[in-house]
Symmetry: C2
Subunit: 601 residues, 2 copies
Amino acid sequence: MNDAFASSDASRTADPLIHARTVRFKGPLHMVREGSLPHVDVTYETYGSLNAQRDNAVLVCHALTGDSHVARHDDGDAPGWWDIVVGPGKAIDTDRFFVICSNVLGSCRGTTGPNSVNPATGLPYGRDFPAVTVEDMVDVQARLIDHLGIDKLFAVVGGSLGGHQALAWATRYPDRVLACAVIAASPHLTAQALAFDVVGRNAILRDPHFHDGQYYDQDTKPDTGLALARMLGHITYLSPESMAIKFDADKFQPRDVATEFEKQFSVGSYLAYQGDKFVERFDANSYITISTAMDRFELGRSPGSLARALGASNCRWLVLSFTSDWLFPAFQSRQIVDALIATRQYVSYCNVQSDAGHDAFLLPNDLDAYGQMLKAFLESTTPDATFSPLSPEDDDPSCAVLHHDRIDYDRMLPLIEPGSSVLDLGCGRGGLLTRLAHEHGADRLVGVELDEQNILATLQRGFDIIQADLNEGLPEFGDNEFDYVVLSQTLQSIIRTEAVVDEIVRVGRRAIVSFPNFAYKKIRDALAVDGRSPGTDGGQLPYAWYNTPNRRFLSVLDWREFCAERDLTIHDAVYLNTEESRTVVDNPNLNADLAIFVISR
Amino acid sequence: MNDAFASSDASRTADPLIHARTVRFKGPLHMVREGSLPHVDVTYETYGSLNAQRDNAVLVCHALTGDSHVARHDDGDAPGWWDIVVGPGKAIDTDRFFVICSNVLGSCRGTTGPNSVNPATGLPYGRDFPAVTVEDMVDVQARLIDHLGIDKLFAVVGGSLGGHQALAWATRYPDRVLACAVIAASPHLTAQALAFDVVGRNAILRDPHFHDGQYYDQDTKPDTGLALARMLGHITYLSPESMAIKFDADKFQPRDVATEFEKQFSVGSYLAYQGDKFVERFDANSYITISTAMDRFELGRSPGSLARALGASNCRWLVLSFTSDWLFPAFQSRQIVDALIATRQYVSYCNVQSDAGHDAFLLPNDLDAYGQMLKAFLESTTPDATFSPLSPEDDDPSCAVLHHDRIDYDRMLPLIEPGSSVLDLGCGRGGLLTRLAHEHGADRLVGVELDEQNILATLQRGFDIIQADLNEGLPEFGDNEFDYVVLSQTLQSIIRTEAVVDEIVRVGRRAIVSFPNFAYKKIRDALAVDGRSPGTDGGQLPYAWYNTPNRRFLSVLDWREFCAERDLTIHDAVYLNTEESRTVVDNPNLNADLAIFVISR
């Protein structure tokens, strides 16, 4: 990780750490699990300016092999590992934020690690370096934040192991983090990811040149083992799709690299190059130390223990995963999100569509998605509020299927008591949420959506939003967590109707359901008189039987019977004729083309 | 691969190769690409008896690290690597078939390989062993078959690298193979799978004890490198799901194994054990030789080149993949199937539901599925016919949704000319195909289904069947490949209606489409008079609006208009009232609840 730009390394004329500063914290510093250090040097870089209130600091946490050089400081500077995200006007905007990035404890890029001199022996620590944890890394960062005179971070942001650090920050220092962005991370490594790390470490540990970790004054180092570990790691950072694109066309043409590794296949020569280059800048003991810390990271194994861990936090969350990331698969991010929801935290989540694998967050391919989401998350977070709606409702072309006619919003709003909390399922671009925020005030407004563009738009409006497919079950909201759950013109496209209805009356004290009435007179006439199917949804939508996204065709009567059979209480019902833009009172099952019901269990 | 039963190795009291014979073929034997051998020893085992016609021989091809000992010969024998599949009454029934399994060229388990003595030097070949290919392995097997006096194999069966060998057999010796079963294989390795092999080989090649391959008379061998390669390989043979089940619960409790590898985590100790044990029975040069052959295997990179390669074959095919196999992912098996379909071969395919990963074919977990499919494939293949229907139509409970009332078959059969070829989409358990076979004769009868149990049942009836989800596109059948394509009561559950209809009139000279008529009088009355939705499908099915699997509601009139708009010719139409078990003539759009149309482009 963190060297996705490897191919541009040749252009690094400047020392990448030339802008770095190092601060020494006197000890002894005790590690969380075992061991201690007499002192710790922390190497860090900063970007932008700390404001007078000292409340605009963003800590960026790096991944396994990264360092403090997250971005260029000026045009002559060496590239940083996250130049695409950190800088003036970028997702983490250094015109607004004071960005801090420090090298982690145990690394070899300035901060104290196994290659640092142990004052007790005068030799590098080597294998005597404590088995540090992610928590130790974060504790050292906390000292740095103290040193910089910052009481509370505006945000902690990190991907991969950086995401683990962000999780540790929010749970160990809940009062010192306002917002936490966790990207391509997990509560713990999968057994598969852990197994790859084990093989990589074994390659180093069993390299005859490892010299039990005291290779610093030897003629040889465990370069082969470290390169093998890197080659293996590199495979796991890419998706199978991206590897196919990179290497299938010239499979049998190895690239012209100088290496002692196998050079039969294009992918082999690429990995050889990555491995050989890596040993020039990284220390084998650091690789062992940091990868072990990652492997031992355990935020909570069961949903309950995860919720207990995350329940300690007190910040606004953004969790992002990538669809093609198989090293930190999306279901693990979703476990974090479910635990945050279960503990009633403010959280947004998206599984970003990407072909780039785990490294996606370091690459420009999908920056339009994840970068914009991160930017919207940071910009809509203010020290005094959890959201701040950014713009009034605009046209909503991308979700015309579900929200084609907003007369239902006009009629729905009076059904919702001002100051209530509302969960909007299938919220589109946040149109209803925005009206609720502007016209109604709100205790808490949350959206659920499937479409990535809609999620971004809703985030940009400042709302918390969870990506979920209602057909795969609702996120883990608690019983009666919201005053209202809204299912607006979505019921008719859901497969698991009964399960979803069960959920909305569990999560909401009241549920508001709107749907097209398929017993509307025009549809009846079409079928009864003309013998045509009700595929056109009462004339509202330009769909036919063979291409309508609707798959459930129910009438007002059907719905009333459905509710009666399930002991659902109907508190209110509003019937509309959207063709004539009017409310229907007389025989709604014949005269209304849209119905809005307020129900509860 | 091939040692999924590793844990039972301790019980191997007998020499596993005690029943093996070795035959020597004098040379020089020239390899396909380069190099030659002065002679080749082939070690093999046989099971069962060759019949008088010498047409019951089944060649089983082993994977990367396997050997000739595919199964026990008697109770006192050591376990074979495929005991669960090969034996009396098993999927490859040794009561019926004469089973042959030989160790592959380049291995170290009896057949000539890098550890064999080079007559020219008196030393083991080591790195001087030719870079053999899968084709060379197969050519040597062909000599063995000659030696056994067998002209044509009843079947070649193999998984993983064994599947590559089966593919090479069918394409290099098309007249010598009647049936070919390819399991968990691919036209070539993915870039990702190849990359793992490269890292594994590099661990061996760069092990200081490799001695450039001439380690046989040295004090040390590249055991560490070989063990690392094995550990890495082992991860790729398992699915992430199966690893989680095995190792998550006791993640931090390494098992008590004697090893010099890292022993911090349960998964690490398991891999260490696998690696250490492997070096006792396998030769590092063989690992390099065989894995390289696998990596270089290339049946065809593009659909066109793959079709050209497979077009040379002339046998009945069974292709099986496993849903959780990420090393040889299902899409690669589907590429083989598509190429076979494109070249109009007899082929069946199923992506077997499994959590076991690539090793699934070696494990008992999913034997009920893949073993039964293999058994049905072999048992319904006869030397003189491509299929032999096994049983008359039985009740079809598992597909009641689509085939609840077979009066439509009665009316559909007269629409199909005897002796025609028919593709039945959504064929269920093969009921219509069976009736066509028994009552109609047929040129070629093929089914397409999604459900695994239905696929097995159709295979057991002796038909070729392809697993496919019509919503994801049809298999790659050619234009006008069938006289008839049947879409029987499936149209109403399809999402991509227009695309599927386009396909059926492309692949069939005629298409036969049946569907429920939603303008049937009872449905009209329900909606027009009662104001209830047409969810009950005219009373035929026990579904309501909220749980019907149907998602398209069309009338006879809708369908006629749909055809007219697309210039589809309607050749014939039959209207049924299934409630009254009669044909409808008068006003079918009102009086029929089921319609059957014969159309063409």
